[in-house]
């Protein structure tokens, strides 16, 4: 049962390893859970899943694999409680008097028998109810069936129903990295980009401070170190606005707002559908304050990384023919401009908010992809990460 579960998780591309699986088995062996499916779920999740973005996938696998097996756990809960364990527990929680009472009833073995019997009886009766085994009354079962410290031996149908919901609710869906980006996701993704911005916290000698401190120390050497820090990542962001992008404008804006706080060197420009000779910085004044693309090309150095965000969904003429633009007459075709951009900034990617499975049906996306040397990625966390990795690769 467990091994199957392990392989199912791997199949659902949750990155579980043997070490983690063994940890889970070890935890089960040490009886970390009290045999309830809910606790088992929590334990398995803590042991096997190491990133919240896999929670959702884990929930799905768990739900499908253990469907119908909750009842199995119910059975375990009552019948196979080890005797020593119970006894120890009872010693801790029962008073002298209670223990004598148990003796009077025929000792522990007898008690266990009755317990199992009672358990079986109750299973038939309490369908749909939520009654504990042995209520907290005068019955000796009650004394350990529901002790003040909350150790539970009985079963609680409603609890289980709730437990199943925990993974059926799929609350971690928006943490899955293959879904589209929300504000939170995007920040995570851009932080990953920032990670490359600072290359290690290498210490270097702070000569000025060393001299000052040594002098203050009456000539005794006092070395001062400072962490070496350089924020090297420069990003040029080209955003597509208007037209078919309207659906995606929100996602773009989120990317944009997140990006602004993550880099020191970030420049952004807007374009419509395709990059031509003019770009603009303020969407409201796009017709009055156009910036020459050539100027942009000449202003920013080669070490800038170029990120184009657009759905690349347009007429193929907009890419290949002069005058193909839907807005104005462009003397040079879009692909000419893209090639110019790539010549100046070889480290470039195109992020596309369209879902990848539609890419192959839209000719213009194919064309842009070819122009970009296949460096087009979906606007999801996963896509961003791949894109960022592509940006890192030296070209």
């Amino acid at each position: 049962m467990m091994t199957d579960f392990f392989f199912k998780l791997r199949k659902a591309s949750v990155p579980v390893t043997l070490t983690e699986f063994l940890t889970l088995l070890e935890a089960l062996n040490q009886r970390v859970t009290a045999h309830s499916v809910e606790e088992f779920y929590y334990l398995a999740r803590a042991a096997l899943v190491k990133d919240e973005r896999y929670y959702d996938r884990f929930d799905q696998v768990f739900a499908s694999h253990f469907k119908g097996l909750e009842t199995l756990f119910d059975g375990l809960a009552g019948v196979s409680v080890p005797l020593e364990w119970l006894r120890k527990l009872a010693e801790l929680t029962l008073s002298e008097e209670d223990q004598q009472l148990i003796e009077a009833m025929g000792g522990w073995e007898k008690l266990m028998e009755t317990f199992a019997q009672r358990m079986a009886e109750q299973e038939g009766r309490h369908q749909g109810g939520n009654k504990w085994i042995g209520t907290a009354g005068t019955s000796p079962y009650g004394a350990y069936g529901y002790n003040p410290e909350g150790i539970r031996i009985g079963q609680d149908v409603s609890r289980h129903r709730r437990a199943v919901k925990v993974w059926d609710r799929r609350e971690f869906r928006n943490l899955d990295d293959t879904v589209e980006l929300g504000t939170r996701n995007i920040k995570v993704a851009l932080r990953r980009l920032r990670r490359f911005a600072r290359e290690g916290a290498v210490e270097e000698l702070d000569l000025d401070d060393t001299i000052r401190s040594t002098a203050r120390n009456a000539g005794w050497l006092d070395l001062k170190m400072v962490p070496e820090r350089h924020n090297a990542v420069k990003v040029l962001l080209f955003l597509d606005v208007g037209g078919s992008m309207d659906d995606h404008v929100r996602a773009c804006e989120e990317l944009f707002s997140a990006a602004r706080s993550e880099f020191k060197h970030l420049e952004y420009f807007y374009f419509h559908n395709m990059v031509y000779e003019g770009l603009w910085k303020d969407n409201r004044r796009r017709y009055t304050e156009k910036i020459d693309t050539l100027t942009v090309l000449h202003t920013f150095t080669r070490d800038y990384k170029l990120i184009l965000v657009g759905d690349a969904t347009m007429s193929p003429y907009e890419i290949t023919y002069p005058g193909g633009s839907v807005e104005h007459f462009n003397p040079e075709a879009g692909d000419v401009w893209i090639n110019r951009l790539l010549a100046v900034w070889p480290q470039a990617i195109w992020l596309n908010p369209q879902t990848p499975n539609r890419w192959s049906y839209i000719p213009s996306i194919q064309m842009v992809r070819e122009l970009m040397d296949d460096r087009m990625y979906p606007l999801t966390l996963e896509g961003l990460e791949q894109g960022i990795r592509a940006l890192q690769r030296a070209r």
């Binding site: 932080r191 916290a201 070395l223």
Partner: protein, 283 residues
């Protein structure tokens, strides 16, 4: 089984899944990695675990300049050099210049301590990798004095991360992991009750209503978290604001003392606009 189990404290409400993660980590002696939105009580968790289990608490706060080695020990070569210039006697024993780090402290404690490694993602990428063996075997080697430091009791290690950096897989494999979700209304009510036991019921429900309303406002730059809610309620109590005032009438759009909840000017404007629109729709 009953003793040494963590069930939250009178000051800290732990959900079932969190309890399970903590208990599994404690039982197996593995580190527990805790992630979650800021302000959901990640750091506090370690303190409360220490309190609940009655263990000494050691905190190691990570900054971008902290190195893994500093958690083990540091060899203060500079002061040894200085001492040698002064001709002091203690210079002959190198052990005098070994400064114990937090991990050493935790390893050598007489009672099993709780060690908090706070915000591990702030450190260099290599930081978690450098601690792999130490956290796994709970021992390390001091080169200067040629001794091996072994943990007397495997400390309960709780690590928090704010997700600024991805942690290496090898490191993750050795930890239990828990993601603290933002509490739902029910849990939130319990949390507030724990902090303000004699809060008027009416005020509490009004405050929570307003709080979740703000949280759900679309497009906020920084959504208020649990700790901000608690601050806000503290202010409300201090200012003695009646529950009715929270509802906000037509003239006053934004809840009183909103500064505790919304920390960003744009967010305040956005929220005002949203409220204005929703009120107009109702009329």
């Amino acid at each position: 089984m009953t003793e040494g189990r963590f069930r939250g404290t009178e000051r800290y409400v732990a959900t079932d899944d969190l309890m399970m993660a903590v208990n599994a980590a404690v039982t197996l002696g593995r580190p527990l990695l805790v992630k979650g939105e800021p302000g959901t009580g990640k750091t506090q968790l370690a303190e409360e675990v220490a309190r609940a289990l009655d263990r000494p608490f050691i905190q190691w706060h990570i900054k971008s300049t902290v190195k893994a080695q500093q958690g083990l020990y540091e060899y203060d070569a500079v002061s040894r050099l200085r001492d040698s210039q002064l001709g002091e006697a203690r210079v002959h024993d190198i052990g005098n210049y070994i400064v114990k780090g937090k991990l050493w402290e935790a390893f050598s404690a007489d009672v099993q301590p709780v060690l908090l490694i706070d915000e591990i993602d702030k450190a260099d990428i290599e930081f978690p990798n450098d601690l792999l063996l130490e956290l796994d075997r709970m021992e390390f080697y001091v080169y200067e004095t040629r001794q091996t430091i072994r943990a007397v009791h495997r400390p309960i290690i709780i690590i928090t991360s704010n997700n600024e950096k991805e942690l290496p897989d090898a490191f993750l494999r050795r930890c239990f992991f828990h993601y603290i979700r933002f509490p739902d209304k029910e849990t939130m009510e319990r949390i507030v009750r724990v902090h303000y036991p004699d809060l008027k019921k009416h005020l509490l429900s009004e405050a929570l209503e307003t709080f979740f309303e703000i949280r759900e406002a679309p497009g906020l730059k920084k959504r208020p978290s649990t700790s901000e809610l608690l601050d806000w309620i503290k202010l409300l109590v201090a200012e003695d604001i009646p529950p009715e005032a929270l509802r906000g009438d037509q003239r006053k759009l934004i809840p009183p003392l909103y500064g505790a909840l919304l920390k960003n000017e744009q967010d305040v404007h956005l929220f005002e606009r949203l409220l204005f629109m929703s009120r107009r729709k109702k009329d």
